[in-house]
């Protein structure tokens, strides 16, 4: 028996779009099989079909050589299929064990029994070096840890066909490294893995074979060892993609944003999450805040955009003190913001695409008259942005944001914020979850904004992005600014040391 899973000629349609059009995917036992494709190519959909979340219109699925019908996730479980979703599905006020056993609880006289479960989880966790504490609350653990909980959840249910949907989009480089090792260990134990990722480097690093989808169609399967990264990118996008960004040397002008000795106090943890941070962003430059996730970047940005109050210091935008401005006032005086969490802040998922594109501008003359929305203008605006930013969806302007693919949701936000044409553009992880083509496009856009005289403040966890796009780098460690660097001079290693806190410049 060669293939453990075969998905043959799968077709799955959504209103207005064939998300999978005659797609075939064959997974060998014990391999890591990468699934590559542009945003909206239908990767998550294909995996949801395998996991029983959608029933395809056409095609057959074979598991261990036998044709099966997977109608819901429970069926999938029974066939040994487990999935870590693009957006995790954990209950935040439950502990790790409770989340893992959810739906598979042991009971004795009607009471929940956790002892056996805890033992099993601890064993599994040791065996695969997952380092998870079963008694922690989900809301208290990092994103990387949450992901390992999702992995444990699959293993606990004895799954041996594991699906990872963009597992690395939310991880730090260190965590990614660990995850790669975990996956290799898993295959050594005879598990088979399907890995969805946009990062070709990762595919090169762990995958054995790679299947490519483009606009719902199956393009082909290649052997990863013998195929270059450029070739894979070309297969997926349908044209050549450039990985180096050409940009001219920045010509910074007046200061737009001046951050002066800012501190942010965290009332829950009773300590500062940002301490005495100062910097300036000038017209015509891209300043990047780098660092490992959770070192105060989120809080710093929220205090600049007005979502979170500062406890100390001052913010000046174009010479005006905005420390006590409301979010609306800051927006109007020239701040746009691509937020870190697209589902929490960036989108109203139940609104249509066109309504999401006017989230901060609906009250402007252009879109309303005497309090009544101008639907024609709203449509014109969204058709224009969909076209310019290549936002793909089933029903264009009227698509509900919820039904869009993760990467296209991100494009909606980027399009909206860049289009607002403000003096300061704050971009937090703007390319999270985007395919290489889209990343290339957004990087070009950021640089174009810079060249048009905008000040760009970029927050990124990806060293590649930090090095390629920015003109100046500052690094945050434990809420403090520990050093400023010039990307043309500094090495990645050097940055790494600062990010890990083992080095800091004396200021």
């Amino acid at each position: 028996m060669e293939y453990i899973v075969e998905m043959l000629n799968i077709t799955k349609e959504f209103p207005g779009i064939k998300a999978n059009d005659n797609v075939t995917l064959q997974l060998k036992k014990g391999e890591i099989h990468a699934l590559l494709g542009e945003n909206g190519a239908g990767k998550s959909t294909l995996m949801s079909v395998l996991f029983g979340l959608y029933v395809p219109e056409e095609g057959i699925i074979k598991v261990r050589g036998e044709e099966v019908h997977i109608n819901n996730p429970n069926d999938a479980n029974n066939y040994g299929i487990g999935m870590v979703h693009q957006h995790f599905k954990l209950v935040h006020n439950f502990t790790v064990v409770e989340n893992i056993v959810l739906g598979f609880e042991d009971t004795k006289h009607g009471f929940l029994q956790f002892d056996d479960a805890i033992k099993k989880i601890t064993d599994l966790s040791e065996k695969y070096k997952l380092k998870v504490d079963p008694n922690q609350l989900i809301s208290n653990i990092s994103v990387g840890m949450q992901q390992r909980v999702e992995i444990l959840k699959m293993l606990y249910r004895n799954a041996d066909i594991l699906i990872f949907d963009e597992p690395t989009a939310v991880l730090t480089p260190q965590e990614i490294e660990e995850l790669m090792n975990i996956m290799k260990d898993l295959t050594k134990e005879g598990k088979s893995i399907i890995l969805i990722t946009h990062k070709l480097k990762e595919i090169k690093q762990v995958a054995d074979r790679c299947s490519v989808l483009r606009k719902g169609k199956y393009i082909g399967t290649v052997d990863v060892k013998t195929t270059s990264v450029e070739k894979m990118a070309e297969m997926m996008v349908g044209r050549e993609v450039s990985f180096v960004i050409d940009k001219e040397v920045a010509k910074p002008k007046e200061v737009v944003l001046k951050v002066d000795n800012i501190s942010v106090y965290n009332h829950a943890l009773k300590k500062n999450s940002v301490t005495d941070v100062s910097f300036e962003v000038k017209k015509g430059e891209i300043l990047c805040i780098a660092g490992i996730e959770g070192n105060g970047q989120t809080q710093l940005i929220e205090s600049i955009t007005g979502l979170n109050p500062i406890s100390n210091g001052s913010l000046t935008l174009n010479g005006i003190d905005i420390s006590h401005y409301s979010v609306r006032q800051r927006n109007n005086s020239g701040v746009s913001h691509i937020p870190e969490d697209r589902h929490r802040h960036g989108l109203v998922l139940d609104y249509s695409l066109e309504k999401n594109l006017i989230l901060q501008t609906y009250f402007k003359e252009l879109f309303q008259h005497k309090g009544f929305l101008k639907f024609d203008e709203i449509r014109i605006n969204s058709d224009d942005l969909i076209d310019r930013f290549d936002i793909r969806s089933g029903k264009g302007s009227t698509t509900s944001a919820r039904s869009m693919s993760g990467g296209n949701q991100q494009k909606v936000i980027v399009a909206r914020e860049i289009n607002r044409d403000t003096d300061l553009l704050i971009a937090v992880q703007p390319t999270r979850g985007l395919d290489v083509g889209a990343i290339e496009y957004i990087h070009k856009q950021l640089i174009a904004q810079r060249d048009a005289g905008k000040a760009v403040l970029l927050v990124s966890l990806e060293l590649d992005e930090v090095m390629n796009v920015s003109d100046r780098i500052i690094i945050m460690y434990e809420g403090e600014n520990v050093g400023e660097f010039d990307p043309t001079v500094v090495s990645e290693n050097e940055l790494g040391l600062y990010m890990a806190g083992s080095k800091r410049s004396d200021q």
Partner: protein, 440 residues
């Protein structure tokens, strides 16, 4: 500007004409034939025919403009089908219950329920009359719900509205001498203001002190109930009958000619007010920046903050409007001849029924209007059910089951989508074969 108006007129000529004729038929012409029954019959027939014809025409137009329309892809249709299945489940349950209680009469009684308010002209008018407060409380709950708030305090707001209206109706007769319509209008405005203020309290608490609106509005129901008793006894008490005084005749809701259309029934202008409110709320929610904000706050509070919307202010506004509509319900309920506010210390049930109606009406203003009328019809059915020696409480049980079933909405919707898909496949097959044939 003029261009736009002209274009609209041209594009909607048919709609406007039909609207105008309906207006003539309903309000003007009946007055000339006040006591002539056969003419009335003809007019009613015409109205039904035009209304039906209009809907049919719209359907045809829609099919023509959207040839590829698939029912399972329309959220609205799927939702509505879910509600209809819920209703059928409730009715079926009622039938089974009746078969158990009194098998001999069960089918006769069930037919009466189905007939509901459509039994005769009188019951039709009564159905409308009884559904007015339900429609309004339903709207109140639905509006708050769209902003993400659960207004369980509609009862309290309704009580306060009712008291204010009756107080003005009893005490401010002077206005009535000046102009009867004005007196009613002032009383109704009083009801609206009282309800709005009562709704503002949980809104303010929620916005500025993060007090859960469910808890605070439930408690305010009791405050309103006892306050009502106290104020009645103090200011507008009729000792002989142990109830509130009757409002002056000038404050009673005008009939707006509807009694010509539906003679002998209790119908009054309340339904016109309710329909106006439906339209206003629909416009607020779907056409204005204010509604855009309210719904954004309801769907995703964090995103609305990110967008710079003032979610606190919006919460207060939403509760004020919700309370105002519930207050209006109270006003219309008690500004009626022969209906009296009672100092009884019971919560007025219409406020709670509104929750159910809002659920059944999918929290949309027009949906609530239909659901409210449906409720009124069932109530009428229950009334006539007594002819078959069943108790009208069966209706309440049916409604309770319907509500349970619509709470299972998601589950039902899956079912609906599957059924629709099956049908579409059957329909699709034939044309496809034809195309293949012509290709070969």
């Amino acid at each position: 500007m003029w261009e736009k108006v002209k274009n609209y007129l041209v594009a909607n000529a048919l709609n406007l004409n039909i609207g105008f004729f309906l207006f003539l038929l309903v309000f003007i012409i009946p007055q000339f034939f006040a006591n002539n029954d056969s003419i009335l019959l003809v007019i009613r027939g015409l109205i039904v025919a035009t209304g039906g014809g209009y809907i049919f025409y719209k359907l045809l137009l829609f099919r023509k403009n959207n040839p590829n329309f698939k029912p399972s892809e329309s959220k609205l249709l799927v939702d509505v089908a879910g509600s209809i299945i819920a209703i059928l489940t409730g009715l079926l349950f009622g039938l089974i219950l009746m078969l158990i209680v009194n098998p001999g009469q069960a089918f006769g009684g069930f037919f009466v329920i189905l007939q509901g308010g459509f039994r005769n002209i009188k019951s039709f008018g009564d159905m409308i009359y009884f559904s007015v407060p339900i429609i309004l409380t339903g709207l109140s709950v639905a509006f708050a719900f769209r902003t993400g708030l659960f207004n369980i305090g509609a009862t309290g707001q309704l009580t306060m509205g009712a008291y204010a209206a009756v107080y003005i109706g009893v005490k401010w007769g002077v206005i009535g001498e000046f102009s009867p319509f004005l007196h009613w209008l002032v009383a109704i405005l009083g009801a609206i203001v009282a309800g709005a203020l009562w709704g503002a309290i949980p809104g303010l608490l929620k916005a500025y002190r993060n007090v859960n609106e469910v808890v605070s509005s439930i408690m305010l129901n009791y405050v309103a109930m006892y306050l009502n008793t106290m104020l009645i006894v103090k200011y507008i008490y009729n000792r002989d009958f142990a109830r509130a005084l009757a409002p002056k005749s000038t404050a009673v809701t005008p009939l707006m000619n509807l009694h010509y259309l539906l003679p002998n029934s209790s119908v009054s202008g309340g339904i016109v007010v309710a329909i106006v409110v439906v339209i206003i709320l629909h416009i607020i929610l779907n056409k204005t920046t204010f509604g855009y904000e309210l719904k954004a706050v309801g769907f995703n509070r964090d995103a609305s903050k990110y967008a710079g919307m003032n979610s606190k202010r919006n919460i207060v506004y939403a509760m004020v409007i919700s309370g105002a509509v519930a207050g209006l319900a109270g006003g219309l309920m008690y500004l009626v001849d022969g209906k009296f506010l009672q100092p009884l210390n019971v919560l007025i049930p219409e406020g709670f029924t509104g929750i159910a109606i809002s659920l059944l009406g999918l929290s949309s203003p027009f949906g609530v209007l239909l659901a409210g009328l449906f409720y009124g019809s069932l109530k009428q059915g229950g009334f006539y059910l007594q002819l078959y020696s069943f108790t009208p409480e069966i209706i309440d049980i049916i409604i309770a089951v319907i509500i349970y079933a619509s709470a299972l909405g998601l589950f039902l919707q899956k079912f609906v989508i599957r059924a629709m898909k099956k049908r579409e496949m059957l329909i699709d097959q034939k044309p496809e074969e034809a195309v293949e044939g012509s290709d070969a």
